[in-house]
Amino acid sequence: MIYGDRNTGVIVTGATGKQGAFHIALMNEYARKVGGKGVVAGVTPGKAGQEVAGVPVYNSIREALKEHDASASVLFVPGFAAGDSIMEAASAGLSLVVAITEHIPVHDTMKAISYARIHGCDVIGPNCPGLLSPGEIKMGIMPVHLSSRGHIGVISRSGTLTYEIVDQLTRAGLGQSTIVGIGGDPVIGQTFRDVLRRFEEDDQTKAVVILGEVGGSLEEEGARATDLPIAAYIAGISAPPEKRMGHAGAIIEGGEGDARSKIARLRQMGVPVASRPSEVPRLIREIL
């Protein structure tokens, strides 16, 4: 298990919004199913005393921690407030923040991640679907019905593409240990490298799928730093340069970060790269 297990208590920030309330209910439905602790409290400044999906709401994370035991938070706050929420969680002593929020100004992300690091707090995201360890814990918005418990780790910059691949792995009988959506923004907290390091120490994980896309070089940096067997798929081979492909981070800039050179570099390192999503299960079988 990486980042959390069924004993991890979770606080949701931005609990009283439509998204927050909806996903608290889904996360706790999953927690009940697997016998986990789930979401123990919600936080929305000024809304203390309310209840959302059966969970009590507090004004701040510190107040919530006086009544509940938690070590992680999941954010559903709007973009302009998300940097602040990450720092609040880190300052209150939580060790993990999962930032689902999209459209955070990138300077806010950079400051919040630097601040969180000083407090020993890891940030997953922003602009991500969160993580799911099948049979243990769900922190975020991933659909659980496509997944199955097993030995394959999945790390992805995307949301729905992750579900597509997880579905195909499950159909091929390849269950997953933990699925981590690291986010589609240019600057993100936990990168491929950080998550791979966690997987290296996780006995359950035997091989890892890396789902990357155009922009930056985090995929190659991660692949270079690990000894784990990995296979990859890189989206955006047809992406034109200097255009943002949906994700703020999915952009080929100054001739850097295009899919073809990423794929070439990964293959040079001996990493098998799928030409189509449907090839991923076969590649994983081959490296297991």
């Binding site: 955070i104 990138v106 950079m110 630097s114 949301g159 940096e221």
Partner: protein, 361 residues
């Protein structure tokens, strides 16, 4: 969003970075009355956002005797296909040496990346490849207020110490303006001091509203229309319209079209919570492109309701065939709605893409 040179230069000037004296022209006849401010020699710079502007005739040196004629000529020009609507007139700088300074975002360190070289005026990407040692780099967390002196010393080497204060001011611009890039190329030394002879500033699209920018000029009208609905839209050159949910899945759909030798007409990510109305708008927007012959809709999600999506596709009522791959809740219901109306629903994205490519062949 990329600011124009004159906008960036104004901001640099306001932050204390020395910039050449000058003013913006919106028509050639605005030059005459103010030409006296510029001295015996001055430079006219077309405000078009393309690289290699100087080589394409977008920058001309002028004097009071020929200034008005040259300005009139410049306003008639197309620089790499872009008509000249604004011209920046600035004093001529007697350049002794050119430097390059920029601050950008480094994805790997999650910090600001400061670049400096004494080989200014060149294409920085070429320099980075051909002479990487000439490029000095430093990373700085955004929690810092100033660039520490040791870092300035490392960056400058034997270059004039005065540039240090320019770097610090550029860092302030970078921070205060939510910049993705703040660049001076070239930063020049003249007998009368140091000047930013050019200015480039790109503002984070996610921070435009707090920067007081209401309209993202980088987007075309169709892209803006898409943004209003919360879609990400990128026009491409093919004939297969694409609608997906999630950037990665939509990109993978485009890639699969290319794999099967088809050509996508666009990228459209409807975003989360694709309901009837959003899907209808998306289908209409894609179908409005006259080159689109067939549309692939590829939606996958735990919370996406397939019956809603199906109704959205039907209510769009477009003439092009729509090939649909739907996975989510109420899948059977969605399929039933579509089957009855002659739409094709496929089991997988691969089947849907294959069918679309066959449909245009």
């Amino acid at each position: 969003m990329k600011l124009r040179e004159h906008e960036a230069m104004k901001i640099f000037g306001e932050h204390g970075i020395p910039v050449p004296k000058g003013f913006l022209l919106r028509s050639p006849d605005e030059l005459g009355p103010r030409m006296g401010e510029l001295g015996d020699r001055f430079v006219l710079k077309a405000q078009v956002e393309v690289g290699g502007r100087g080589k394409s005739g977008g920058i001309v040196v002028a004097s009071p005797s020929n200034g008005e004629r040259l300005a009139a000529e410049l306003f008639k020009k197309d620089i790499k296909g872009i008509p000249v609507r604004e011209v920046l007139a600035v004093e001529y700088l007697d350049i002794q040496k050119e430097y390059y300074a920029s601050i950008a975002i480094d994805r790997s360190t999650k910090q600001a990346l400061i670049l400096f070289t004494d080989q200014g005026g060149v294409d920085i990407e070429t320099l980075a490849k051909e002479n990487p040692d000439a490029l000095r780099k430093a990373s700085l967390p955004l929690l810092m207020r100033d660039i520490p002196p040791f870092m300035i010393r490392d960056l400058l080497g034997s270059s004039p110490k005065e540039i240090g204060s320019v770097l610090n001011k550029l860092f302030r611009v970078f921070c205060e303006k939510d910049a993705l890039l703040a660049e001076i190329n070239p930063l020049v030394v003249t007998p009368s001091g140091i000047f930013a002879a050019d200015a480039k500033l790109i503002i984070d699209d996610n921070a435009l509203s707090r920067q007081g920018i209401t309209l993202n000029r980088d987007l075309t009208e169709r892209e803006r229309e898409a943004e209003k609905h919360g879609f990400s839209y990128v026009p491409l050159k093919g004939d297969i319209g694409v609608i997906g949910n999630g950037a990665g899945l939509t990109m993978a759909t485009l890639d699969l079209i290319e794999y099967y030798d088809g050509k996508a007409a666009n990228f459209l990510d409807v975003g989360g919570g694709a309901d009837q109305e959003r899907v209808m708008h998306a289908v209409k927007l894609v179908a409005a492109d006259p080159s689109v012959k067939v549309i692939v809709v590829n939606l996958l999600g735990g919370i996406t309701r397939c019956d809603e999506v199906a109704r959205g596709i039907i209510s769009a009522g477009v003439v092009q065939p729509v090939i649909v791959r739907l996975a989510g809740t109420n899948e059977a219901e969605g399929r039933q709605i579509l089957d009855g109306r002659g739409y094709r629903m496929m089991e997988s994205m691969e089947q849907a893409v294959k069918a679309a490519v066959e449909a245009v062949q």
